[in-house]
């Protein structure tokens, strides 16, 4: 029987993969995808919680997350595109612009 705990465990695994990917990969697009993975891991946890508690709150928050993720994807991809145009690279460690 697949219970709530299993969903939460899967969510944790997905989140960890995403987090590690976001931290260790150099390619900004991969980092971006990893962040999407983390967001969806969170979504999975919400849905599992919603189901287990019999409440709609978790599911409605998932919709918010999806909306925000869509907006983020639009902005983020635009930023990446602009970055590439300016610096001819998408390697995160080569774009250390915050350091003077």
């Amino acid at each position: 029987m697949i219970g709530t705990v299993h969903y939460l465990a899967l969510s944790a695994v997905l989140f960890s993969i995403g987090a590690v990917g976001a931290v260790v990969r150099r390619n900004v697009i991969i980092i971006f995808m990893s962040i999407e993975l983390m967001l969806n891991a969170a979504n999975l946890a919400f849905v599992a919680g919603s189901n287990s508690l019999g409440s709609m709150n978790g599911q409605s928050i998932v919709f918010f997350v999806m909306t925000v993720a869509a907006a983020e994807a639009a902005v983020g991809l635009a930023v990446i595109l602009a970055l590439f145009r300016n610096r001819q690279t998408v390697a995160a460690d080569e774009i250390a612009l915050l350091k003077w």
Partner: protein, 655 residues
């Protein structure tokens, strides 16, 4: 022995509201000079400056006549507003005119007006005309606040104001470093005295509060002085006297006054001869009740006065700068005034303040006229025969010399004689001897000054002689008026033994008490004879010696040897002060600079900066600019937080 002063008559106040305009008028003048003076030109500045003082004079005369015409003990007061109120302490801006301050305001505004008039001529070629008259008007206003104040805090405002103006005017030609530093010296030396003044006022307030008195009006202090504990009246009186020695150039703080001659000559006449330097005398007379409650302090006043009178007179003999001679003479004459106060003859002291204001202002203005006419020559060894070129200056100056020397019939004779007679009558024989000696020396050096300047042949550069000229009317008119006052000024105080009724002392009695000489007529006449003989000896000796020219100094030099050189160098008091006070202070400051300032203060400041800097140096390694590092930091942080929460809840459950 000591002739007791009779009770001061209870005061009868008359409330008016015009006294405030006496100091206000010159203050308006200051505003005018500052705001419009440079735009409207010299004529307007000179006119406004004189008019402002003339207004003060008219109002002062009105107050004076009111006091004179009313019953003895009348006080005209103008309560402007309550100035300070803190706990038990109150101070009002209240101006009051009694017999004592009426004399002072008449002298300040009267002589002040003449000197303003003179300055129009003397400073005619000066670029900073408006600035000069702004300072001069400001000084007059401050001096009037000083003498009109009815309490110590308000007097202190004027006291500081005149000190400031003195500094500004001594250093008027501030581009000359020597003159600028003379101004600073005057300011710093005065500051020592002012500290004494403030501490004295605090002491008195401290003791008065215990008596349930929260105000420092002179009437209160004088009335309650006898009830003060002995330490308070003694300490208060001595500390206030320290203030007086600073402002009135007495031992040990007189050293600034000779240097103050760096200022323009009208300034020397107004501030450093006629008015400001008498502030100390006025203050002691004003607080006579306090000083009488502390006889030891009064004794100190007398001894310091006599010593200053004698010491400064001996320095005066050997000076070669016309203004320096007059400066030491002023120090010496101020010594006489304190001598008078010290023996309880306040009226005589104030009498001498008045006559001295006349003849010393006259002498300074005369000296200024000579300096002006000879194109800035100040060395009397390079003068001589000036009488031919400057007849009015010569005649008036001669009268001034006779007056200060104490020749019978002129003002200085009456006032100085009253002081000496009071000293003798009070049993202060030593002070009397000092006074008579000083009088003789005064006569000697003033005659020397006169002969070397006006008699004989001109000894300087003949170009200066060819261009020498009598001064314009604005300058000679004040000379003539002051000469007249120097001659007749003494007749308000003719002693009874000479057929007068000493009206001046009578007039002042409600303010400062009546001082009875208690001498037999014969004794009094004998004392008079002695001081006249002393004066005439001095005059005669100097006349004979210096008619041959300034080389007569050599005779004195041979007679006195090393002492003469010391006199010429003013006993090197400046060097002594330098070694005893200035140098130790500098060394201490230097040591403190290197140890406390550099090590501790700078160490703390630099240490803080270094700590912040090295912390920043460490932290900046975290700021790589790589977003992934930041992300890792966040992750680790959140993980740590969750771990901590989990662990704590686990422990909580276990517990």
């Amino acid at each position: 022995m000591h002739a007791a002063a009779t009770e001061v008559t209870a005061s009868l106040p008359i409330a008016v509201s015009y006294l405030r305009y006496i100091p206000l008028a010159p203050l308006v003048g200051v505003l005018f000079h500052v705001a419009l003076g440079y735009r409207l030109g010299r004529r307007a500045v000179g006119l406004v400056a004189c008019a402002a003082v003339a207004v003060s004079f008219a109002l002062a005369a009105k107050a004076f006549l009111t006091v004179l015409g009313s019953a003895a003990g009348t006080v005209v007061t103008d309560n402007v507003y309550q100035w300070l109120s803190s706990g038990e302490f109150t101070a009002n801006v209240t101006f009051s005119v009694d017999a004592l301050s009426s004399v002072m305001i008449m002298v300040v505004t009267g002589v002040g007006f003449l000197i303003h008039l003179y300055s129009i001529g003397y400073m005619a070629h000066e670029e900073d005309y408006a600035r000069f008259f702004a300072y001069l008007n400001l000084f007059t206003a401050a001096m009037l606040v000083l003498v009109l104040a009815d309490n110590l805090p308000l007097m202190f405002v004027g006291w500081e104001g005149v000190g400031l103006c003195s500094y500004l005017l001594i250093g008027f030609w501030y581009t000359d470093p020597e003159k600028a530093s003379a101004g600073k010296k005057a300011f710093l030396v005065n500051r020592i005295g002012d500290a004494g003044f403030v501490l004295g006022a605090f002491t008195i307030f401290w003791a008065l509060v215990d008596l349930g008195q929260g105000s420092l009006t002179f009437a209160t202090i004088n009335a309650r002085a006898a009830e003060l504990p002995a330490w308070a009246s003694l300490a208060g009186a001595l500390l206030l006297f320290v203030g007086a020695t600073g402002k009135s150039a007495q031992i040990p703080l007189y050293v600034w006054l000779p240097d103050a001659m760096a200022g323009p000559t009208p300034v020397s006449a107004l501030i450093h001869a006629a008015t400001m330097v008498t502030a100390g005398v006025y203050m002691v007379a004003r607080l006579h009740g306090l000083f009488e409650a502390a006889p030891a302090a009064l004794q100190v006043v007398g001894i310091v006065g006599a010593a200053t009178a004698l010491l400064a007179a001996t320095i005066g003999i050997a000076q070669t700068d016309i203004k320096k001679v007059l400066a030491y003479s002023t120090v010496s004459q101020l010594g006489y005034m304190f001598l008078a106060l010290g023996v309880g003859a306040y009226g005589a002291g104030i009498f001498h303040v008045m006559t001295h204001a006349f003849f010393k202002a006259l002498l300074f203005l005369g000296a200024g006229s000579v300096i002006h006419g000879l194109h800035d020559e100040q060395d009397i060894r390079r003068m001589g025969g000036v009488a031919q070129k400057m007849p009015i200056t010569h005649a008036t100056f001669a009268l001034g010399v006779l007056a200060i020397a104490g020749v019978p019939g002129l003002s200085g004779f009456f006032s100085k004689d009253e002081i000496l007679a009071s000293a003798y009558a009070g049993g202060h024989f030593g002070l009397w001897i000092c006074g008579v000696l000083g009088a003789s020396i005064t006569a000697f050096y003033m005659t020397r000054l006169y002969v070397l300047t006006f008699r004989g042949k001109f000894r300087g550069d003949h170009h200066k002689w060819d261009h020498a000229h009598e001064s314009p009317i604005q300058m000679t008119l004040p000379l003539m008026v002051l000469a007249a006052l120097a001659v007749v000024g003494g007749y308000v105080g003719v002693p009874e033994v000479l057929g007068g009724n000493n009206a001046f002392a009578e007039y002042l009695a409600p303010s400062v008490g009546h001082h009875q000489l208690g001498l037999a007529a014969g004794t009094e006449l004998m004392l008079m004879g002695i001081s006249v003989a002393a004066a005439l000896t001095g005059i005669g000796l100097a006349w004979v010696m210096y008619s041959k020219g300034p080389d007569a100094d050599l005779i004195l030099k041979n007679k006195l040897g090393g002492l003469y050189q010391q006199m010429r160098e003013a006993y090197n008091i400046d060097a002594v002060y330098d070694a005893l006070v200035v140098q130790p202070l500098m060394r201490a400051s230097d040591a403190l600079w290197h140890s406390v300032d550099v090590r501790v203060i700078d160490g703390v400041a630099n240490g803080t900066a270094a700590a912040v800097n090295s912390a920043g140096e460490g932290w900046r390694r975290w700021s790589t600019g790589n977003v992934q590092h930041y992300m890792l930091t966040v992750l680790v942080g959140v993980a740590a937080l969750i771990l901590a929460l989990t662990l704590s809840s686990l422990i909580g459950v276990a517990g």
